[in-house]
C-alpha cells in the first residue's frame, strides 16, 4: 500500500419506501453506502440518480430515520433505517 493511501469506511444504511414510492422505486427497500458525514440530502441525491421517478416527488417527499421525522441536514449513521414516503393520508 502506498504511503499516502488511506481507507475510508463507508456508512451503510437501509432505505425503505412506502405507499406509491415503492412503485416508483420498483422496490420496498434497498441498501446504500455513503461517505462518512453524509447527510440525508446527499443520500437523496444518490437515490434520485438511482431511481429517477422518485426525483419528480422531491418537493413532497417525507423522510424519517427510525420512527422520527428528520430534515435534510441529518447526518447519517451506520445502520440507520431511512424511510421515504409521500404525504400521509390517514383517517
Amino acid at each position: 500500500m502506498a504511503a499516502n493511501s488511506f481507507i475510508v469506511a463507508l456508512v451503510r444504511v437501509r432505505v425503505h419506501f412506502y405507499s406509491y414510492f415503492k412503485d416508483l422505486a420498483g422496490a420496498a427497500e434497498v441498501s446504500e453506502c455513503v461517505a462518512p458525514g453524509s447527510t440525508l440530502e446527499e443520500l437523496l441525491r444518490i437515490l434520485f440518480a438511482r431511481f429517477p421517478k422518485l426525483a419528480a416527488m422531491r418537493k413532497s417527499i417525507l423522510i424519517a430515520v427510525g420512527v422520527d421525522y428528520q430534515g435534510a441536514d441529518y447526518v447519517l449513521q451506520e445502520g440507520d433505517e431511512v424511510s421515504l414516503f409521500p404525504p400521509v393520508q390517514g383517517g
Binding site: 405507499s19 406509491y20 417525507l62 424519517a64 400521509v88 390517514g90 383517517g91
Partner: protein, 132 residues
C-alpha cells in the same frame, strides 16, 4: 392520562369500544369521532380503500400526538383505533374517543388529534375501483 392505540386490519367494533368506556368520577364529557369510507374518492365511485401503515412509526407519531393533546388540554383518556388493509365503503376506518372533565377540552383534543394525524401519522390510502 390513559391512552389506548390499536392499528389493525380487524373491523372496528364500535359497540365493544363503547362498552369499555371508563368515566371516572369528576369526568363529565366523552367525545368520539368515527370516520367511514365514502363511496366516492375525488368524484369517482370506489368500492373500498386499502390502507397501508408504517406501523412502528405510526404508533410513535400517534403517541406523540396523545402526549401533545395531554399537554394542551386536561384530558382523562384517549382511545384511538385505525384500521389498515382493505376497508369497504360504509365501514369505519378510524374511531377516536377523548374523555375529559368538560366538553370544551374533549372536543378540542379530539379535533386536534384527527387534524394532526392527517399531517404526521404515516398511513396512506389507495382507492379500490368498483368490481375489484
Amino acid at each position: 392520562m390513559r391512552t389506548e392505540l390499536t392499528i389493525s386490519d380487524d373491523k372496528i367494533d364500535e359497540h365493544a369500544l363503547l362498552q369499555k368506556r371508563v368515566m371516572p368520577a369528576g369526568v363529565g364529557a366523552a367525545v368520539y369521532f368515527l370516520g367511514a369510507v365514502r363511496g366516492t374518492e375525488e368524484g369517482r365511485a370506489i368500492s373500498a380503500i386499502e390502507y397501508e401503515a408504517f406501523h412502528q412509526m405510526a404508533s410513535r407519531q400517534f403517541h406523540l400526538l396523545f402526549d401533545e393533546a395531554g399537554k394542551r388540554w386536561p384530558v382523562e383518556s384517549i382511545r384511538l383505533v385505525h384500521r389498515v388493509g382493505r376497508v369497504e365503503v360504509g365501514e369505519a376506518s378510524i374511531w377516536v374517543e377523548v374523555v375529559a372533565a368538560h366538553r370544551e377540552e374533549a372536543f378540542a383534543a379530539c379535533q386536534f388529534i384527527i387534524g394532526e394525524m392527517k399531517r404526521v401519522v404515516p398511513i396512506w390510502k389507495r382507492p379500490v375501483n368498483p368490481g375489484l
